[in-house]
Amino acid sequence: MEITVAFNKVDYKIGTTTILNNISLDIKAGEITGFLGLNGAGKSTLLSLINGLRNQTSGKITLLGTELPSDDGRLRSKIGVVFQETALYEELTTFENLEFAAALYNLENTKERITEVLELLKLMDRKNQIVKTLSGGLKRRVAIARGFLHDPQLLIIDEPTLGVDVEARHAIWSHLRLLKSQGRTIIVATNYLDEAQALCDMVAVLHKGRLLTTASPDYLVSRAGYCLDVECDAEAGEKFIDILSGKKGVLRADTTPSGLSIFLKDRTLKKQMLDIIVGTGKINGFRFRSPDLAEVFKSLQEKNDHVP
């Protein structure tokens, strides 16, 4: 498969502080790739190395066949960027923002293209609304509309659903999936594992400027294990851990303030484990859920190996 962006042993430093350390990564064309990590992991910095807002300290980055840094305006016209803070002109309307962007990218048939994009992102009814009066979710949608207005080969989105409500979040995800289905390569940076699961074909997990692993989101979740949270008192929790440790299919069991969390290799083990627990002691309740990002990190760090 064609490679859109290739990082080869890339470092980025500010003074003596290392922000990104020895990153090697290939981003494939036509996929949605996620940069996953907690705040300060280096996700936004990695994005800014691709979009040209920063230059790497060492190593090699190739974007659409061109080595970075590059001052080539034609290369910049092939990428679209949606910033974390949207970077929209707040005093202008949605349409005026897009019209201005169309001029920057020298688009033809401006009105038709803007209308097409507004319809795609269901923003037609907000066309003449001044941006500062839009909700956070709508502003994100306008920023996404502006990002791919010029039909870029690569769309880079920093935190696509930061600060938006659940409904808007799902709407944005579905728009991004639609763009992917039209053959675009998309890179998203996110804090949320569920977002990566909902959107990405592949994720690169970053932690403190290092690339921990690259894998499919489902693989990462299964590796961390499906989580069974059990509410019980501390004494019962200790007893359950003793019984469950070493059982086949149990990856890990941790005490929590409300009881314990048991990580299972397979969803189907849920009933079997609950039967064992209920037969051993008293519980106040339970729930089954996917692991969160912190738990994925923990599993990656504990095993300290590379995932294919």
Binding site: G52, L53, R76, F83, Y89, E96, A101, A103, L104
Partner: protein, 368 residues
Amino acid sequence: MTMFLRVLSASFRAEIIKLFRSPFLIALVMVQAVTFLFLVTLFGLTGAFAPTALIDYDKGPLAKEFVKNLENAHHSFSLMFNYDYKKALEEIRHGNLVAIIMIPQGFSKAIAASRTAPIGVVIDNIDTDMSMDIQRALPSAITDFGRNQGFKEIRVESAEKDLIDHDTDFVTYMVVSALVLAALVISGILSGVAVASEFESKTVEFLAVSPIHPLVVFIGRVLAANIVSVIGLTVAVAVGLIGWGIKPLYPLQMAGVLLVSVFIFGLVGMALGVSMKKAFPVASFIFGVALPLYLFSGTYEPERFDGNLLWAMAHFTPLYYAVGIIEHAVLGLKVTPESVTVNYLALAGWALLALYVSWRLTRKNILS
């Protein structure tokens, strides 16, 4: 080139829309333009006219002659006649008068009889500048009076030869210069704020990832800010022409230098916006340096009276050259040793410098 013009025009349009969606800002710009005219007028009025009560106890013909000489003796005198001594003293204590001049009873008779007549003077010496005006003016008036009356003891008289064929009123002189000061403040601030707000709102990052250099967008914004500045200055010029009765000798040259000033000071504002990246410091800086620059630039009085050091320093400000051109255009004065052409070239140099600084710093400041 087509893309350059398209982006320039789109940025211009976007900024115009933005500015005209803030009618309060436009109104403030106009008020600010006119405010400078009032400000420098106050300088002129307080510096040029010392309110002085004249109490004539004599009321004779020679006393009246003497008053005429007082009125003509010094531009600083603003004689007021409706005071008695008690009221005048009260007004001096309240700071409404600078001095009281009293012509004693028997003044006309004493002069006619060739006797010395003492003129009583009370001076508020809290401000030496004002009291020295009085101290200079009075002997001058007495000398003129003596010469007119044929006093034999006066054997010296001045033979005045004017440098130019017309006198220029001090307030008019300063108001004309204030028009380019207003251009600096309005255009510099509007342009600087427009550019700095690109950094503040981070929209500059969007510009930086686009195919065209952000400087093209900035210039479009400066041109839009120029339009609003020209509207503000037009109001100020109208106030100057109608309110102050200024009649420009070369109206087209006056319009030309004001337009050039608006554009060049806009570019200077752009360079400051790129350098500082924040709107409030840009506005404060321009506002803060405008008045000292104005005074440096020979706008308070012709530059050669300010001493060589200030005059040399004035050459490093664009206002100096703009003042040189506008004083020539409106009043026919040559207040700089440099010709009008050289002054225009110096302003063009400032424009190029502002463009170069902006170009050098834009990407650097975005990357930082």
